[in-house]
């Protein structure tokens, strides 16, 4: 039951996320601010804070929240704690189209950044993400729509997109290789205000849908049959959830490249803190995902200043040991 201890934990997580937000805002390559000086900055400080750091930190918040959210939904849809949006082919599709955009820019002189508030390359990448996902969903549906077929379709599309990417990588010159590598490692470098708006819109929309459906998400955990017995419109709800995942995760991965582990780890940490019912799991995951994202990005911006460490490296460092710990714990549990 959603009694006092659980609500308290959520407030605690909110405080943690807020603290991470302030930390991220205060710390950076240009200079570190003390908390009071964050308010009413002048001149150069103001430029740094408002033009560069604030959009970046807002973006980190929404990206982390959004990725965690898609992780929760995926783990519910696949009823598997190891599920994450990557399974649906969105990341592979986004990567392939990002690579195509990199090639087009260098070799054909087609630059996307000229229009669309700089979101051009991201939108092209997003087309790749949705394309890959639609194929996966269609393949999955035509074989019965059961979870394992969707999974297999995802694996197949990932393989195809990876191979196609591989061909481009083979043809790539030094610069293109670096760009592709950096895309794979992820970064919040594209955090302009339009990008923030896009990230915010998709994340908030996904959150609203998920929160409204939270009971049905719980029911889906018990299996499609039981969920139906309980009164869930299984086909429609699953379809809606898949669409929400692809739009949110596809948009985010197009803007950031591959950010490892947040989608996988945040829901797990949240589950350990507040349990599996989505009423608590959703806000907890969102807050934890945002906090991880903000912290990792702060390290990314600060540790190698004036250069930036790609974000995926840091989320990997933070996430991998936890992931191993989870696997070991899971193994022990199933042996017990």
């Amino acid at each position: 039951m959603f009694g006092h201890p659980r609500s308290f934990k959520i407030y605690l997580l909110a405080a943690l996320a807020a603290a991470a937000f302030l930390l991220a805002l205060s710390v950076g390559a240009a200079r570190d601010f003390s908390l009071p000086s964050l308010f009413g900055p002048q001149g150069f400080d103001r430029d740094i804070l408002l033009d560069i750091r604030l959009p970046r930190v807002l973006f980190a918040f929404f990206a982390g929240a959004g990725l965690a959210l898609t992780g929760v939904i995926m783990q519910c849809l696949f009823r598997n704690p190891l599920a994450e949006p990557f399974l649906m082919g969105t990341s592979a599709g986004a990567m392939l189209f990002a690579i195509i955009a990199i090639f087009a820019a260098g070799r054909l002189g087609i630059h996307f950044h000229a229009g669309l508030s700089g979101l051009g390359p991201a939108l092209f990448s997003f087309i790749g993400a949705t394309l890959a996902f639609s194929v996966v969903l269609h393949l999955g549906r035509s074989t019965g729509g059961q979870v394992q077929f969707v999974l297999l379709a995802g694996i197949a599309i990932n393989a195809i997109a990876s191979s196609a990417s591989g061909v481009f990588i083979f043809m790539a010159n030094d610069r293109e290789l670096r760009d592709i590598t950096f895309w794979n490692l992820g970064s919040y470098g594209a955090a302009t205000y339009p990008a923030v708006a896009l990230a915010a819109v998709v994340t908030i929309a996904a959150a609203v849908v998920a929160v409204v459906m939270h009971r049905r998400l719980d029911a889906l955990l018990l299996g499609d049959l039981v969920a139906f017995d309980l009164g869930v419109k299984v086909k429609q709800d699953r379809r809606l959830l898949f669409i929400v995942v692809v739009i949110c995760q596809g948009a985010l991965v197009s803007l950031t490249g591959m950010i490892a582990f947040i989608a996988l780890v945040a829901p797990h940490l949240a589950r350990m803190a507040v349990g599996a019912t989505h009423r608590a799991l959703l806000p907890a995951s969102i807050l934890i995902g945002a906090a991880i994202s903000l912290l990792a990005d702060t390290f990314a911006r600060k540790l190698a200043a004036p250069a930036e460490i790609p974000l995926g490296v840091l989320t990997g460092i933070m996430g991998a040991p936890f992931f191993l710990y989870m696997l070991i714990r899971h193994k022990k549990r199933s042996e017990a």
């Binding site: 240009a30 740094i48 033009d51 470098g189 200043a305 004036p306």
Partner: protein
């Protein structure tokens, strides 16, 4: 040669009185900024700017296409000299909005881009006329070389670049190395586009008369003896007659004022090697 560039441009340096803080992005951009004598004004470079060696000590702002706005602004630059394609574009926009003057430099290996580079940097240094003169001289020098008659059977030169012990790259058409070889009156033994990894068979198939290798790569491989041991090499005339010519690493970044002179040196070295 370098002194000539310096002198020509510094005569105009009196006009460029503002104290500049320069962030240079891109190997060729950094090299050229140093060539006009502004090396001391560089506060940071990107990771690909490794020549001249003093740049290695400067702070790094990341890779050419992955710059960090805040990191760069932290250095309070007045100017940025960047190569085409530096980015992300949003970061450059942010920097421009913050008042940093950004000068873009083309990266092509051809003569046209080389001349453009000189002119742009001349303007940057505050001495456009001198730069224009220099670039015209460069064009003339190179033109003179290209018009020289090529022998009926020019020696086949294979250019090898070693990236680490494992990967050997050969330079085909559309590379600086190719242009240099042609200007030196020889022929490129490697029939391909751009830089490509080569294996033993490809090396043997090239039947190169001479192997051309940058000094740094040769050192990295372990010297001339190590080069002899590379599979495929022994099957070429160059390997059999031990015809090895080296070149200064920095000449590979692109055409520049030193290119014509380098081509002449190369021509002589090739002729010498062919005596073997």
């Amino acid at each position: 040669m370098k002194k000539a560039v310096l002198c020509l441009l510094l005569t105009g340096a009196a006009f460029a009185t503002e104290k500049k803080r320069i962030v240079s992005v891109g190997a060729i951009a950094s090299e050229l900024v140093c060539e006009i004598g502004a090396c001391g004004d560089i506060v940071a470079t990107d990771v690909t700017s490794v020549y001249p060696p003093e740049l290695l000590k400067k702070p790094k702002v990341g890779y050419v296409t992955r710059l960090s706005a805040e990191g760069i602004l932290a250095l309070r630059p007045t100017h940025m000299v960047v190569i085409d394609g530096a980015g992300p574009a949003t970061v450059l926009d942010q920097l421009k909005q913050s008042g940093v003057k950004i000068v873009k430099v083309p990266v092509g290996i051809g003569l046209g881009d080389a001349a453009k580079r000189l002119e742009i940097l001349g303007e940057f240094a505050g001495n456009a006329p001198a730069a224009k003169k220099l670039s015209q001289k460069m064009r003339a020098d190179v033109a003179q070389l290209s018009h020289q008659k090529k022998s009926k059977r020019p020696p086949k030169v294979l250019f090898i670049y070693a990236r680490g012990a494992q990967t050997l790259l050969a330079m085909g058409a559309n590379t600086t190395a190719h242009e240099l070889i042609e200007l030196a009156g020889a022929a490129n033994a490697f029939d391909a586009e751009g830089a490509k990894p080569v294996n033993a068979e490809a090396i043997a198939a090239s039947q190169a008369d001479i192997v051309l290798i940058p000094e740094g790569s040769l050192a990295g491989l372990g010297g001339a003896e190590a080069l002899q041991k590379i599979p495929g090499f022994a099957q070429t005339p160059a390997g059999k007659k031990r015809r090895l010519v080296t070149l200064e690493d920095s000449l590979l970044a692109g055409m520049g004022p030193r290119t014509a002179a380098a081509a002449r040196t190369l021509r002589n070295k090739i002729a010498e090697a062919m005596q073997k």
